[in-house]
């Protein structure tokens, strides 16, 4: 038979395969339910469902066999799956015959249960083939998530070039489709010898000739190109990753050398050095709490809006709120109580430029989910800051143009999640900054007061003087 036709028939396997599972399970349930006299009527349905189940199991075996010969699958696993599938078909056939002829009545139910077990095993093997091993339980073990996180290398020059530099890249971006169980395009990449052997279309790595290597060529194709690897919907390697792979192949694609043994062009050095630090996490979105929260009290929001405060969720489908007082300059300490009902939802609070002062901070101190707090150009002082000690989640604090001092800010030393504190035009003196920075080692403490020097060129022009 033509290979294309075989493949076509094979591709029906994922459709057909669900029928025997459902139908045969149903027939066993019927057999069990129809044991009693009372439910005898059901027996009539058993034979027809067994027949249909048997036929569909047979079809699943045939289509499955067709699919398996168009390679791409782990022979071992696929073999087991095939034989288990055949055993399902045979068992169902026996059961059907036994049922029709009324023979060995006693054994019918046990055989039915055996059939269920076989079905479960076959189904699970099939799932493992398509989705990879551990797919079913993956979500239970969050640590073993598919996302592979690179660990920093203590000393990159002493590291093994393949194990420590190249393999982690391949592991995070290629192995999910090119492993022992799933060999897309006949290519398995997790073993050095198989990686060098290549896939259906030949070698993917030509040692020393990166430009001619199929792997590099495909990595560099435009993302929309059908041949681009990894497929466009999968996580993509960064440009630096590709440069490193390119360098490794051009260096002869060695598996047993250390980084220092290879020649390192200028361009490669900073990339290698970067492997010594933690991988940088790219945060595409602003940080908001992970845990869900109830919707804010509508009335409380309305009351604030009536005061001119802009209260909005931080994003669609989120109940966390941002309150912005840019058009509520008259908001004062007396109004602060209005914020309390929104205590669970408020995460960004922009009180800048309002009439709020120290006594209002007692209320702010209770809004302990706050992540960003803007108090610039308000009347608060150190006394007010002491109320903010409870804001454990605070990341950003803007105190520009207030009368706070260094000792006031020091009271917040336990807020270790702080990432930035703005102290321009406050009473914190220049000499206090080193101590403050020590107190918040991870935060950016901004003193402001930047100056742009006056240069002659700021106010002069270059003039063209025509030659005589």
């Amino acid at each position: 038979m033509n290979i294309a036709i075989k493949e076509f028939i094979g591709h029906w396997h994922p459709v057909v395969v669900h029928l025997p599972i459902g139908i045969l399970l149903l027939s066993v349930v019927l057999m069990w339910a129809a044991r009693k006299e009372k439910t005898e009527g059901m027996r009539k349905a058993i034979s027809i469902s067994l027949l249909l189940g048997m036929i569909s199991a047979l079809l699943a075996c045939i289509t499955g066999y067709m699919l398996s010969i168009s390679d791409d699958y782990d022979k071992d696993l696929a073999g087991w799956h095939l034989w288990m599938g055949i055993s399902v078909a045979v068992t169902s056939a026996l059961l059907y015959l036994g049922h029709m002829r009324g023979m060995y009545q006693r054994w019918h139910l046990p055989m039915g249960i055996l059939l269920c077990v076989l079905l479960a095993i076959t189904g699970h093997l099939g799932g493992t083939l398509t989705h990879g091993s551990g797919y079913l339980t993956k979500s239970l073990f969050a640590e073993n998530d598919e996302v592979y996180v690179r660990k920093p290398l203590p000393n990159v020059q002493e590291a093994m070039v393949y194990q420590d530099v190249v393999q982690p890249l391949l592991q995070s971006k290629c192995y999910s489709c090119h492993n022992a169980n799933k060999k897309k395009g006949g290519l398995q990449m997790d073993k050095p010898e198989l990686l060098m052997k290549g896939g259906k279309n030949g070698e993917v790595i030509i040692a020393g000739r990166a430009e001619e290597s199929e792997m590099i060529r495909r990595l560099l194709l435009p993302r929309e190109d059908e041949d681009h690897m990894p497929p466009k919907e999968k996580p993509q390697p960064t440009e630096n990753d590709i440069v490193l792979l390119h360098w490794w192949i051009n260096s002869g694609a060695p598996f047993d050398k250390k980084v220092k043994d290879l020649e390192q062009p200028e361009k490669i050095k900073p990339l290698l050095l970067a492997l010594e630090s933690e991988p940088e996490e790219v945060m595409l979105q602003a940080e908001i709490p992970q845990e869900p929260v109830d919707k804010a009290n509508k009335e409380a929001v309305q009351k604030l809006r009536a005061k001119g405060v802009v209260v909005l969720p931080v994003a669609q489908n989120s109940h966390y709120l941002v309150a912005n007082f840019v058009t509520a300059h008259h908001f004062s300490d007396a109004d602060m109580q209005l914020l309390l009902p929104l205590k669970m939802q408020l995460i960004w609070l922009k009180l800048g430029g309002t009439k709020v002062g120290d006594s209002g901070m007692a209320v702010v101190g209770e809004l302990n989910r706050l992540m960003r707090l803007q108090l610039e150009h308000t009347r608060i002082t150190d006394a007010g800051l002491s109320s903010l000690k409870s804001l454990k989640d605070l990341r950003y604090l803007n105190l520009v143009g207030t009368r706070v001092t260094a000792s006031g800010v020091q009271q917040l030393k336990d807020l270790q999640k702080l990432q930035s504190v703005y102290l321009y035009q406050t009473h914190v003196s220049k000499s206090d900054y080193p101590a403050l920075q020590q107190l918040f080692p991870k935060a950016h403490i901004d003193s402001g007061g930047y100056e742009v020097p006056i240069l002659e060129s700021d106010t002069t022009e270059v003039k063209y003087v025509p030659k005589k």
């Binding site: 669609q316 912005n324 703005y422 742009v452």
Partner: protein
């Protein structure tokens, strides 16, 4: 009944009477036929329309600029876009090419000219080496030339995009592409999309403000801040940094504030009657616009007045009192963003360094342009930073294309001064703040800065990045028009994750 109500009533009555006066038999017949047609058309269009836009992005005509929420929590809240209209030379500012110096004065190789089109270069031009002294700056080691001595000190605050490309080599279409996602007229600009999507945090100010300097509007005209097919309320409001910030913002002599209020109320009353009759949402828009204009009469002169800033801030930006200049506009931009304006678009004209006269020469006028913007843009970054605003304000700097590594020979003849032609294959832009990485650089050009060899980005990628920083997925953010959803990035674009922090 108060005086005011009487006045309103009278106006409304008058409007009604004059409307009735037009109501003839012919009118009646025409309207019935039209009405039937409109009914049919309405149901036709209604059934074609899709409900793809999310509830948040439904246009609320009565309150078009109400603050809205983005689909996901964005890192930036506002954008200041500094557009150097005319296109500054990347080869004299950021893209250092020592190899190009070696080719200075030699004929351009044929391989760079074959199959290419230039705006003015004809025949075989000479190569032109970098006309500036370059140094590595800050910890990031970014190359910045001595033309920008102030900016050089803050190179660690920004992310450079070294391989921006475009496909338009004339100013107007290239500017349109940069700001509207299409080189042709009719699409909404980035600022319009953003105010449409996010509204304005401050209901007393426009959400999208445009400021120009350099003595000329951008070549593409006002379309670069137009609202295209979006409701017209989202177009950029052009303000001036000298004289009245908005033309006719102040009441004429003899017109008191109360009288102004009374007349606006009366006009709105008439408009409301009109709306009750026709149900056209644009009428509600108009009512909202009148009300906002009334509020702006108070708030705008206050915010737009940079004179109340202290002297040291003026010195920092290098402003010029009473003149329309880039520095004044930049300071104003900071003030506007502080007050909740969403998008401030600056255009500074005069960067078109062809070498046809001293003002457009790489070694004269170009240097003066650099001096005009250097201090102010540096001060902007530092001032936003010290106010804690840089984290949530995205600053974008760039032109509409780049300039050639060849010296321009207009129509085959050497230009009188050193100049470069328009170049589409590679130029440099930078972004800062609003969740952009500090001290990063993405993209690379070849040894002479002719074309991008890695990290190529397009105008759509830049637009996708801007939208992303504000909390939008550029592929999901659409507006239904002419029976299909439109988006800013058309069918392209990718947020440049390489420069995100």
């Amino acid at each position: 009944m108060t005086q005011k109500e009487l006045h309103n009533d009278r106006l409304a009555e008058e409007a009604k009477r004059s409307a009735l006066g037009y109501y003839t038999r012919r009118h009646f017949l025409r309207e019935s036929a039209m009405g039937l047609g409109a009914l049919a058309l309405g149901s036709l269009i209604g059934s074609c329309g899709s409900n793809s836009s999310s509830a948040n992005q439904v246009f609320d005509a009565a309150n078009p600029l109400a603050p809205k929420l983005p689909p996901f929590p964005g890192k930036a809240r506002a954008v200041i876009y500094l557009h150097m209209a005319g296109a500054p030379s990347q080869l004299e500012l950021f893209d250092y090419k020592p190899e190009l110096m070696k080719l200075d004065g030699l004929d351009c190789p044929q391989s760079l000219l074959e199959g290419k089109r230039f705006a003015f270069i004809r025949g075989v031009p000479k190569m032109l080496g970098p006309q500036a002294v370059f140094r590595r700056r800050g910890q990031s080691g970014a190359w910045v030339s001595d033309h920008l001595p102030h900016f050089a000190t803050i190179a660690d605050e920004v992310s450079f995009l070294k391989a921006v490309t475009t496909d338009q080599f004339n100013h107007a279409p290239a500017q349109l592409l940069m700001h509207t996602g299409s080189p042709r007229l009719g699409r909404p600009s980035i600022g319009s999309w953003i105010t449409y999507g996010l509204g304005s945090e401050n209901q007393n100010l426009p959400g999208f403000v445009v400021l120009t300097s350099g003595g000329k509007n951008p070549d593409a005209g006002k379309s670069v801040w137009g609202s295209g097919f979006l409701p017209s309320v989202y177009q950029g409001v052009q303000c001036r940094s000298e004289g009245d910030p908005v033309l006719f913002i102040f009441d004429p002599e003899g017109m008191s504030r109360d009288l102004r209020k009374a007349s606006i109320d009366a006009i709105n009353e008439v408009n409301r009657l009109q709306y009750a009759e026709y149900g056209d949402p644009e009428i509600l828009s108009r009512i909202a616009q009148y009300e906002m204009a009334y509020r702006m009469q108070i708030s705008v002169p206050e915010v737009m007045n940079i004179n109340d800033e202290p002297d040291y801030i003026h010195a920092m930006y290098g402003t010029k009192s009473g003149k329309a200049c880039f520095a004044n506009n930049v300071l104003l931009a900071r003030k506007l963003v502080e007050k909740g304006v969403r998008f401030v678009q600056l255009f500074d004209w005069g960067w078109d360094s062809h070498g046809t006269d001293p003002n457009l020469a790489i070694d004269y006028g170009f240097i003066n342009k650099c001096r005009q913007v250097d201090k102010a843009m540096t001060a902007l970054i530092l001032d936003l930073k010290q106010r804690g605003l840089l984290e949530e304000t995205l600053v974008v700097w760039g032109g509409e294309f780049g300039r050639t590594p060849m010296m321009e020979n207009r129509e085959g003849k050497q230009n009188p001064f050193k100049g470069r032609d328009h170049h589409v294959e590679a130029f440099t832009m930078w972004m800062a703040g609003g969740g952009i990485r500090k001290g990063a650089s993405y993209g690379e050009t070849d040894e002479i800065g002719y074309s991008a060899i890695s990290g190529k980005v397009s105008a759509w990628d830049i637009q996708a990045t801007i939208l992303n920083q504000l909390g939008f997925d550029h592929e999901q953010f659409t507006y239904q028009f002419q029976g299909r959803p439109f988006r800013l990035t058309d069918v392209a674009g990718r947020p440049i994750t390489e420069i995100q922090s």
